[in-house]
Structure formats: structure tokens, C-alpha cells
């Protein structure tokens, strides 16, 4: 059996990559992808702990989380399409109307 630490290591690596992308990237689609990375790193944690401590709750949670992530992606891309129609770009540095 693969040790639990490796799962956690994988999850935290994914989380860090996602966070790094979230802070540095300007493209809206890349940002959405980074957010998916964050969510899925959490899902890996849930499933891993659930498998090691015999309890299906974590896996059920993961399923919910995946469904939520799908919904979130749907809404997020819809917003991005709307932004693209309005501004002709999805570079978030150029879309800064809600500022001082």
C-alpha cells in the first residue's frame, strides 16, 4: 500500500502549483485551471484519508466537491465569455473597472 505521506505530498504540491498560478497568471482561463488544481488537491486529501481510516464519508465529500467544481467551472467560464464579449480580452490586468 502506498504510504499516506505520498498522497499528502502530491496534494500539497498540486495546491502550491495552483496557488502559484493563481497569484501570478493573468489569463482568465489559466486562473480557472489553477482553481481546479486547488480543489482537486483537496479532493485527493479527502479520498486518501478516507481510504486509510476506513470511513466512506471522505469519498462522498469528494464526490460533492467534484460536482461543485463542475458547477463553479460552468459559472466561471460563462463569466469569462461575457467578459470577452465586453472587453475583447480575458487578460485580467486589463479588466480592472472595479477599482478606485
Amino acid at each position: 500500500m502506498i504510504p499516506l505521506e505520498l498522497y499528502i505530498l502530491l496534494a500539497s504540491t498540486m495546491f502550491t502549483i495552483g496557488l502559484y498560478g493563481l497569484v501570478t497568471q493573468k489569463n482568465g482561463v489559466k486562473l480557472m485551471m489553477c482553481i481546479e488544481l486547488l480543489l482537486n488537491s483537496a479532493n485527493i486529501n479527502l479520498v486518501a484519508f478516507s481510504a486509510y481510516q476506513p470511513n466512506v464519508n471522505g469519498q462522498v465529500f469528494a464526490l460533492f466537491s467534484i460536482a461543485l467544481a463542475a458547477a463553479e467551472a460552468g459559472v466561471g467560464f460563462a463569466i469569462l465569455i461575457a467578459l470577452y464579449r465586453l472587453y475583447g480580452t480575458i487578460d485580467l490586468n486589463d479588466i480592472n473597472a472595479m477599482r478606485w
Binding site: 496557488l19 493563481l22 493573468k26 485580467l92 490586468n93 479588466i95
Partner: protein
């Protein structure tokens, strides 16, 4: 049974006020008949109560209001005679106003305000505690402001209204200070009040006034006197009263005769036990009153405006009333009867004179006596009723003024014998001047040649009628009512738990040897048996031995008659064609300093308005304005500018770039995690 409806005396005029205010302009003559009816109903109710409780009952109703205060109705002899007088005189004035204000576009507003004025005065009279009295007192002030400034488009009327309001306000502040001081002192006594008794209720004040420290009493008395001085137009707060002529004449009649200026005298009479107990309380009242009486009378001599003559005369007569109360230091509660008697009599003949003057002005269309002359040929009714009023004011024998005013002079003499002759001398001089200026007015208006082309017709019946009724009272009231009135009013304070002997001790009215004979002498003359013991603080043994000295010599009794007739004759010699011996303009030229001084009203206008108001008050106002702008506002403006500047800088945080927000969020989480971890390491959480 009537007493159960006593509240209606105030409620009905208030109802008339509301009706006139909201639907008045749909009604004929602005709904004036409503005001008349409401006041008349008050008169009927007052008469009913009078028939029920005369000669020895009082009506006292009260209900809790909040905390230590109540609302209530107290009708004792003092309040009852005032109620009767006010409702009676004001009914006549309102009736007259129906003719006088006919056709004025603001008639509805006039009658609404007049009704509220009446209601507040009536409420003031039968309030059973000082706080309630003060509330109505302020309402009276407000209504006077509204009515004096009735023709508010006229700048002089607006200015006069403002002057009246501000001047009386000075007194009101003192009055309020007096009330608060009184309340604090009463509260400090920790009284064991029975159910239904409240602090500031008059019976409670009367009962416990002796327990308040004497120096506090003096302060309270001076505060209350300040209120009375403002309301009753006494020196130095009299300046508003002559200017109050700017309102319609009926308003002047109401203010001068019944509803406003008498409130101050009434207050002093109402609080007489307190003034009696306060050292120097009554002395101050006497000094203010006597000085005002003389001071105003001299100004009445030179005024050309018929209404100003009457206004100065009111100020002067109010001085008489105040002085009459003040000399109560020598004669006790008897003074209340004498003074209130003059108040009532004065309200009859002063209302008569004002309404007569209004009738003349209505026809002649000017206030200036120099443009009148010979009016009597065209206005017989007005002339003869005014003659009765003038004779009464001058104190001609058998007229009301003779009985009331001269009694004040007589008790001032008693005061002179015991304490100080100064008030007496001033009052006698004022009485001479009263007779002179009254008849100067009458002669120059009604007799002689016509000095200008004016309207020559008598006023309508609705105006003459009240004049005739008032003339009957101005003539007969004093003669008919004097004795009963004195004894009735003298019994006023017997309904309460007042120990005048003890109060006299506190007030320093213990007058060895002298007190009793005066009381005894009065007793013979006036048939008022209570004076001796109620008036003087000394022990009973002094009273037996005091029969030797007479109350006052015959020449003191006779003097007022001589004064009145002499004054009238003097006026006649100057102003009445048939016996004219002197020409006023030759006796005193235009350059004569005394004449100029009087004509200018002792330069009060120059001093008070010209100098005091425009330099001292205006200068202070400028400085205050500077402080306000530079300091108070300046500090605030600086603060708000700083906040604005800070915000200008800090708002830059809102970049609108999502990554910045995410970065801030992540950093925040990191900081939180670090802090919490450290705290757990240390063991805080």
C-alpha cells in the same frame, strides 16, 4: 357640578383654535364667532364655579403626569377672580374683534391665535403647579409673538414681535432658574408626601416654604420676580410693551388688559407666601413696581401715538400692581387683594380705553393724536365711554380706578410708616402724572378743532357694544365690589397650610410696635378681619397695645382725590379749549432738555437698541461668530480634511486586479496560520 367641567375652560378655546386654524377660512369672518363662543362658555363655567364655591370653597383636581409631576386644576379665590375677569374681558374683546378684523384676509389666523392666547392665559391661571404654569406661560409668550407680528409683512411689526419674544425670554430664563432652584430645594427636604401630592404643587410649596433656607428663598424669589418683570413689562424689561402696538388694536387690548401682562402680577400674587418669606423678596417687588410706575408715567406724558400713551399707562399701572404686592411686606396678604383688585379694575378700563382707541383709529385711520382733535363730535359713544375709562384710570372719585389705585397708595403709605416712604412718594407722583397724561390724551383726541381731514363716522354696533359694557364695569365695579373682593381675596391663603407669622419671621417682617396699629386701623376701615394676624409676624401681645396710632391721617385719605382732580385740571389747562391757559409748546420749547428726554423715552431706544444692541450685543455676536467659524468649525473642517486626504491615499488599495486580492488573501491566511501556531506553541490557545 360645574367644577367637574373646569377643564373645558381651557379645552374649548383650544378647540376653537384648531377649528379656526383648519377650517376658519371657510367660515364667515374667519370663524370669529367660534372664538367668542368658546370664551363665553368659559365665562359661563367660571360663573357656575363661582356660584358653587363662593365664599369659602376651592376646586382642586389633579392627576399624575410623569415622575414627580402632575397636571391639575386649582381654583381658589385668586384664580377664580382672574378666570372671571379674563373670560369676561376677552369675550368682549373677541366680540369687538369680529367687527375690527372684518375683511382682513388673515382673520381666520387671527382668531385661531387669539383663541390659543386665551386658552394659554386661562391655563396659566388655574394651573395647580409651577411647572404647568410655566408651560402655559411660555405658550402665552408664543401667542403674543404671533399676534404682535400678525401683520408680519410689515417690517416694524416683525421687529416688534421679535423684540417682545426676546425680551420676555430674558425674564423666562430667570423664571425657569427660579423654578429649578425651588424644585431642588423642595426635593432636598425629603418631604413625606401624601398620595396625590407632588413637588411644585402650590399647596405643597405653600406648606413647606418655611423649611427652605432663607438665602435660597431670596434667590428663588428674585428668579420668579425676573419672570414677572419680563412678562409684566416692568423696568428694565418693559421695552417690548410699547412696541407691541404693532399688532391689531384688539391684540393690544388683550395683551394689556387681560391675557398677558397681568400674568407677571398674578405670578407674584400666586407665590406671595414665598415672596413674603424671602428676605428682600417683597422689597425688590416694591422697588421695581414703584420705580416702573413713575418712570413709565413720565414717558406717557410726551407720546403722540394714542396707543403708545395707553401702553406707557399700562406699564405704569402694572408698576402700581407690583408695588401694591411689594408693600405687602407691611400689610400682609391684604396686599394681594388690593393689587389684584387693581389688576381686575385696570383690565376693565384699560380694555375699554384700548378698544375705544381702536374705534377712533378705525374711523380716523391714524394713531397720531396731533392729527385728531374734535373726534368727539362724530363719535359720541366712543367719546363718552372713553371718558369713563379715562376718569377711572385717573382715579376720579367713585370710579373703579379710585377704589383700586388709591388703595394701593394708601397701603404704600402704611409701608412708608413702617419701612420706607420712597415707594409711596413715587406712586403719588405717578398718580398725578397718570391723571395728566390720561386727560391730555382724552382732551386732545376728542375736543378742540379738527387738525386733519379724517373719516368722520361712528364705529359699528359690534364694536360699540363691548365699549358700553366695559364702561359700565369701569365705572361701577370698584364701588360695587371692593369690600367683598378684599375679604374674599384675603381668605385665599387660608385654604392652605401657610403660617404667615412664621414666614414673616424668616422674611424679617417682624415689626415691633408698628405693625399692629396699622393692621387694626385697616381692620376698621376695610372690614377685613384677617389682616392683623395674617399680615404681621409679631406676637399677639403687641396687637392689643396698638390702638393709639391711627392707620393714616385724613390727608392721606384725601390726597389721591386731590391728586386725581388736580391732574385732570392741569391737563385741561394745557389741552382743553374751554379752559386753556397755557400752550404746551410755549411752556417747553422743542429744545427743552427734559421734554426731549421724555419724548425720546429716556433715550432707551438709543441706549438699548442703538448702543447696547448694536455695539455690545452685535460685537459679542461677531466675536462668537469668529470663534464659531475659526475654532469650532475650524477644528471640524481640519479633521474632515485629514480624513478625506487619508482616504484618498488608502483607497489605492482597491486596484481592481483580482490577483492582488488573491495575494492579499493568501498572505492574510499565512499570517493567521503563523500567529495561531506561535500562540499554540507558547500556550495561549
Amino acid at each position: 357640578m360645574y367644577a367637574d367641567y373646569a377643564y373645558l375652560i381651557v379645552a374649548l378655546p383650544v378647540l376653537a383654535f384648531l377649528l379656526c386654524l383648519f377650517v376658519g377660512w371657510h367660515l364667515p369672518r374667519g370663524g370669529g364667532f367660534l372664538t367668542v363662543l368658546a370664551t363665553f362658555a368659559g365665562l359661563v363655567l367660571s360663573l357656575g364655579i363661582f356660584s358653587e364655591i363662593y365664599p369659602s370653597g376651592i376646586v382642586h383636581q389633579s392627576m399624575p403626569w410623569f415622575a414627580n409631576f402632575n397636571v391639575g386644576i386649582l381654583i381658589d379665590p385668586l384664580a377664580l377672580v382672574m378666570l372671571l375677569m379674563v373670560t369676561f374681558v376677552v369675550t368682549l374683546i373677541h366680540t369687538y374683534a369680529n367687527g375690527y378684523m372684518n375683511g382682513d384676509p388673515g382673520a381666520a389666523r387671527y382668531f385661531a391665535e387669539a383663541a390659543l392666547f386665551t386658552a394659554s392665559m386661562l391655563g396659566l391661571i388655574y394651573a395647580d403647579n409651577l411647572l404647568q404654569l410655566f408651560i402655559f406661560w411660555e405658550l402665552v409668550g408664543l401667542c403674543s409673538y404671533l399676534l404682535i407680528g400678525f401683520w408680519y409683512r410689515k417690517p416694524s411689526a416683525a421687529a416688534a414681535a421679535k423684540k417682545a419674544f426676546l425680551t420676555t425670554r430674558v425674564g423666562d430664563v430667570l423664571f425657569l432658574a427660579g423654578i429649578i432652584l425651588l424644585y431642588n430645594n423642595l426635593a432636598a427636604l425629603n418631604l413625606d408626601l401624601k398620595a396625590g401630592e407632588y413637588l411644585l404643587q402650590f399647596p405643597v410649596i405653600y406648606a413647606h416654604v418655611a423649611q427652605i433656607p432663607a438665602d435660597q428663598l431670596t434667590l428663588i424669589a428674585l428668579g420668579l420676580l425676573g419672570g414677572a418683570v419680563g412678562k409684566s413689562g416692568q423696568f428694565p424689561l418693559h421695552v417690548w410693551l410699547p412696541d407691541a402696538m404693532e399688532g391689531p388694536t384688539t391684540v393690544s387690548a388683550m395683551i394689556h388688559a387681560a391675557t398677558m401682562v397681568t400674568a407677571g402680577v398674578y405670578l407674584v400674587a400666586r407665590m406671595f407666601p414665598l415672596f413674603y418669606a424671602a428676605p428682600y423678596g417683597l422689597t425688590a417687588v416694591a422697588a421695581v413696581g414703584a420705580f416702573t410706575a413713575l418712570f413709565a408715567a413720565t414717558m406717557g406724558l410726551t407720546a403722540f401715538d394714542i396707543k403708545r400713551v395707553l401702553a406707557f399707562s399700562t406699564v405704569s399701572q402694572l408698576g402700581f400692581m407690583m408695588a401694591g404686592l411689594g408693600v405687602g411686606a407691611a400689610v400682609g396678604t391684604f396686599a394681594v387683594g388690593v393689587s389684584i383688585f387693581h389688576l381686575i379694575g385696570h383690565s376693565f378700563f384699560k380694555a375699554l380705553l384700548f378698544l375705544g382707541a381702536g374705534s377712533v383709529i378705525h374711523a380716523v385711520n391714524t394713531n397720531d393724536m396731533r392729527e385728531m382733535g374734535g373726534v368727539g363730535k362724530y363719535m359720541k359713544w366712543t367719546m363718552y365711554t372713553m371718558l369713563i375709562g379715562s376718569l377711572s384710570l385717573a382715579g376720579f372719585p367713585l370710579f373703579t380706578g379710585f377704589f383700586s389705585k388709591d388703595e394701593i397708595i394708601v397701603i404704600a403709605y402704611e409701608y412708608g410708616v413702617l419701612i420706607n416712604f420712597l415707594p409711596y412718594i413715587m406712586l403719588v407722583l405717578a398718580a398725578i402724572l397718570t391723571a395728566i397724561y390720561t386727560f391730555r390724551m382724552w382732551f386732545s383726541v376728542f375736543t378742540g378743532k379738527e387738525r386733519s381731514d379724517y373719516g368722520k363716522h361712528e364705529s359699528p354696533m359690534v364694536m360699540v357694544g363691548p365699549l358700553v359694557i366695559l364702561a359700565v364695569f369701569a365705572f361701577g365695579f370698584g364701588f360695587a365690589a371692593q369690600e367683598d373682593f378684599y375679604s374674599y381675596l384675603d381668605s385665599n391663603f387660608e385654604h392652605y397650610d401657610v403660617d404667615f407669622a412664621q414666614l414673616g419671621m424668616i422674611g424679617g417682617h417682624v415689626l415691633e410696635g408698628h405693625g399692629a396699629p396699622e393692621g387694626a386701623a385697616l381692620e376698621e376701615e376695610q372690614g377685613a378681619p384677617e389682616i392683623a394676624e395674617s399680615g404681621h409676624g409679631e406676637a399677639g401681645d403687641a396687637e392689643e397695645g396698638g390702638e393709639g396710632e391711627a392707620g393714616e391721617p385724613w390727608y392721606i385719605q384725601i390726597l389721591p382725590i386731590i391728586v386725581a382732580i388736580g391732574g385732570i385740571l392741569t391737563a385741561g389747562l394745557f389741552y382743553f379749549d374751554k379752559i386753556k391757559k397755557f400752550d404746551p409748546s410755549q411752556v417747553t420749547g422743542d429744545t427743552d432738555p427734559i421734554r426731549k428726554l421724555l419724548l425720546k423715552g429716556y433715550y432707551q431706544h438709543e441706549i438699548l437698541t442703538g448702543w447696547f444692541a448694536e455695539t455690545v450685543v452685535y460685537g459679542t455676536a461677531l466675536i462668537c461668530n469668529m470663534i464659531d467659524i475659526k475654532l469650532v468649525d475650524g477644528w471640524l473642517n481640519w479633521l474632515s480634511a485629514w480624513v478625506m486626504g487619508f482616504a484618498q491615499n488608502i483607497r489605492k488599495v482597491q486596484t481592481g486586479v483580482v490577483q492582488n486580492y488573491v495575494t492579499a488573501l493568501v498572505l492574510g491566511v499565512v499570517v493567521l496560520v503563523v500567529v495561531i501556531t506561535l500562540a499554540m506553541e507558547v500556550g495561549l490557545a
